[in-house]
């Protein structure tokens, strides 16, 4: 195997995994922008999406229907989390809501354990067939689905935020909640919308990666953490930043595992995160984490 082919393989793997991290990271950013809450149940949305997708397929639904159903159900779960957990304490400090989301993540994981048990579930790829060759790298077909879903979601969100009234309203709440309220935007509605949206995003990520990683009740924790790192890499308030952060993290993991040593894969990713954060604190980067707006 030539070095170029190896490099292509690392890049391909990194892009696919990075697409997943980006989708999860986006969920964090959308909630954080509007509510200033870090939603630690984001990883559990991914897990729910994956397991619901598996269940939908086992019940005989076609892939598209199972996908839409999983996304819709988890969006409702996200909305419920906002109504039941976050809304009642919306005037408390953001840390209180953060604790609520940690509690919610444990509750969701426990419920999934009770419903689905501890076994991992396999799921057929969306389109069957052997892996495709790209520049000497072999990429599983589901990898293209991951990238396609990520691209569709990014495009959809871009249209939503820049071309629709509701999207502009969400952005307004992110930029200046008081100003938005004075303009007649119902900020509380936007909170609900943000949570539902992040639920749907997480579910989409989970549903599309289930054929690659299998679905288990405890998959959310690690994926949520990686998504959070992606969001922080991108500055936590910027959707574009989260997307870039996700791909950066995926590529870093893959390249360090391939070119350095697989034993230090996670260490490399986290060291880069720390260095970037330090660089931001020192003012060496053009963007800032969680910039107050």
């Amino acid at each position: 195997m030539s070095f170029e082919a190896q490099l292509a393989q690392y890049l391909a793997s990194g892009l696919v995994v990075g697409g997943v991290y980006a989708l999860i990271g986006l969920g964090f950013v959308i909630v954080y922008r509007v509510t200033r809450i870090i939603n630690f149940a984001q990883g559990e949305f991914v897990m729910l999406g994956a397991l619901l997708m598996v269940t939908g397929r086992h019940l005989g639904l076609p892939t598209a229907a199972a996908f839409v159903l999983a996304v819709a159900v988890v969006a409702v779960v996200g909305a419920l989390l906002e109504r039941v957990g976050v809304h009642p304490i919306r005037r408390a400090e953001a840390t209180a809501a953060l604790i609520v989301t940690i509690g919610a993540s444990i509750a969701i994981r426990g419920t999934a354990l009770a419903v689905w048990g501890t076994d991992p579930y396999a799921l057929d790829a969306f389109s069957p067939g052997p892996p495709l060759r790209v520049l000497g790298a072999s990429v599983v077909r589901q990898g293209f689905w991951v990238l396609a879903v990520a691209a569709l979601v990014f495009a959809g969100l871009w249209v939503f935020f820049t071309r629709t009234y509701a999207g502009s309203a969400v952005t307004a709440c992110a930029v200046n909640p008081r100003g938005a309220r004075l303009m007649g935007i119902r900020v509380e509605r936007m909170w609900l919308l943000a949570f539902a949206l992040s639920g749907g995003l997480g579910a989409a990520a989970g549903a599309v990666i289930a054929p690659i990683t299998y679905a288990t009740y405890d998959m959310g924790l690690m994926l949520g953490l990686k998504g959070f790192v992606a969001a922080v890499l991108g500055g936590l308030v910027s959707p574009v930043g989260a997307i870039a952060g996700g791909f950066l993290l995926g590529l870093l993991e893959s390249l360090s595992a391939g070119l350095l040593s697989s034993g230090y894969k996670d260490a490399v990713a986290f060291v880069v995160l720390i260095l970037l954060l330090l660089a931001q604190v020192a003012g060496w980067t053009p963007w800032r984490v969680a910039e107050e707006t």
């Binding site: 195997m1 070095f3 190896q6 393989q9 690392y10 391909a12 793997s13 990194g14 696919v16 995994v17 997943v20 354990l113 501890t118 076994d119 991992p120 396999a122 052997p130 892996p131 072999s138 599983v140 990666i209 690659i212 990683t213 299998y214 288990t216 405890d218 998959m219 690690m222 994926l223 993991e253 893959s254 390249l255 595992a257 391939g258 040593s261 697989s262 034993g263 894969k265 996670d266």
Partner: protein
């Protein structure tokens, strides 16, 4: 008033028979055995069949009235089973609970090497016999320092030895190695490196991956670039299954070998067609029907497989580890009763015990009691287990 008086007498009598009256003629004091399995968490594909087997054995023994102790009377068996969630800290806490609160005579488990190593100190200090269901040889060696500890699965040393001999016999001398980066995988690597060196194999790649990683393609790309004649992956599902799929998708040449950690149908289900042709060293349970009729284990294996599959679905070697561990404790209690020190001596004195994992011969210096007869190379062919030559 007389009626009330009679009623009081009747109620008192009834209560007396229900409580104290039961003792002389009825059941004896139960024999309590503790069990710690990884029923949830990453080790659950191993821990759940272990728990199922334990419950099956408990019901089976109690249906016969229990265990006949040294006092000549039948004692019902009570298993106290806890879940350590595949977590070292929780394993230590549950071990303490079994020793101090439940006051069990012996403990069976844990499921994983890491959790077993974690509870060693607690168990040794409390002087309670432990029969582990985990792989690492370090759990029971050196035996002089592990007086109270036994284990039933084949040690990684034994398993790796059979694998390395197989590789050498087939002339597969350039070997790539990948392992999951926790106790099971790391200890497997230590044994493999030693055995491979001794056998004159060349290790052309040595890679690690995380238990919850979603993609092992980068590591396998390095493996592919090293162009090995054979690749060994040391892990358990689901990560073992993901790695198997990645291996097939990348089209790495040469046969793929796995550890005994993939000895369940879950591995095949998750890896799908990519598992076709995979070879791994394991106990004989998976290929029980294909064994020679002269094999002393064959009847025991067939009986266990029949009972287990009637209740819980496809057999796997992990349930067998629990079967052996509990049987060892029960046999020891037949001789020694509920006395921890005597039970320990009785387990150490067990000879020629035909179990699921192998034929056990324990001694003061060997707390695993197995030899190479307990391992056979197994191949997955179209989703079925075949004994490989």
């Amino acid at each position: 008033m007389r009626i009330v008086g009679r009623m009081i007498v009747a109620v008192t009598l009834a209560l007396w028979t229900l409580t104290w009256g039961a003792v002389p003629g009825g059941a004896q004091e139960p024999y309590k055995i503790g069990a710690i399995f990884s029923i949830t968490g990453p080790g659950s594909s191993l821990g759940i069949p272990e728990r199922d087997t334990a419950l099956m054995l408990e019901a089976e023994v109690n249906a016969k009235g229990g265990v006949k102790g040294p006092d000549g009377k039948l004692h019902p068996v009570k298993l106290v089973i806890y879940d350590d969630a595949s977590d070292e800290t929780k394993a230590v806490l549950t071990a303490k609970k079994l020793i101090d609160e439940d006051r069990v005579t012996a403990i069976v488990g844990t499921t994983l090497s890491g959790t077993s190593l974690a509870i060693l100190d607690t168990v040794q200090k409390a002087e309670v016999p432990l029969v582990s269901c985990a792989a690492a040889i370090k759990i029971v060696e050196p035996a002089a320092e592990r007086k109270w500890i036994f284990k039933t699965p084949q040690s990684d040393q034994l398993i790796v030895g059979v694998l390395v001999d197989h590789l050498k016999a087939r002339g597969l001398t350039r070997v790539a190695w990948l392992n999951v980066d926790y106790a099971f995988g790391q200890l497997g690597w230590i044994e493999f490196e030693k055995a491979a060196q001794k056998a004159g194999l060349t290790i052309v790649a040595n890679e690690k991956f995380g238990q919850k990683d979603v993609d092992m393609t980068p590591q396998l790309t390095r493996v592919k670039a090293a162009s090995p004649q054979a690749t060994v992956i040391w892990s358990i599902p689901p990560s073992a299954s993901i790695a198997t799929k990645n291996y097939a998708d990348l089209g790495v040449a040469g046969p793929l070998f796995q550890s005994h950690g993939v000895g369940n149908k879950r591995y095949v289900e998750l890896a799908g067609p990519a598992s076709n042709g995979v070879l791994f060293p394991a106990g004989k349970l998976l290929v029980a029907e294909q064994l020679a009729d002269t094999d002393p284990q064959k009847p025991v294996l067939l009986a266990y497989a029949r009972d287990f599959e009637a209740k819980y679905g496809p057999r796997n070697t992990f349930g067998g580890h629990a079967w052996d561990a509990i049987q060892l404790v029960l046999r020891a209690m037949e001789k020694a009763g509920p006395d921890r020190a005597k039970v320990r001596s009785a387990i150490e004195g067990t000879r020629n015990f035909v179990g699921i994992t192998g034929v056990f011969d324990f001694s003061v210096t060997d707390h695993n009691g197995l030899d190479r007869r307990a391992v056979t190379m197994t191949q997955i062919v179209e989703g079925q287990w075949r004994q490989a030559k």
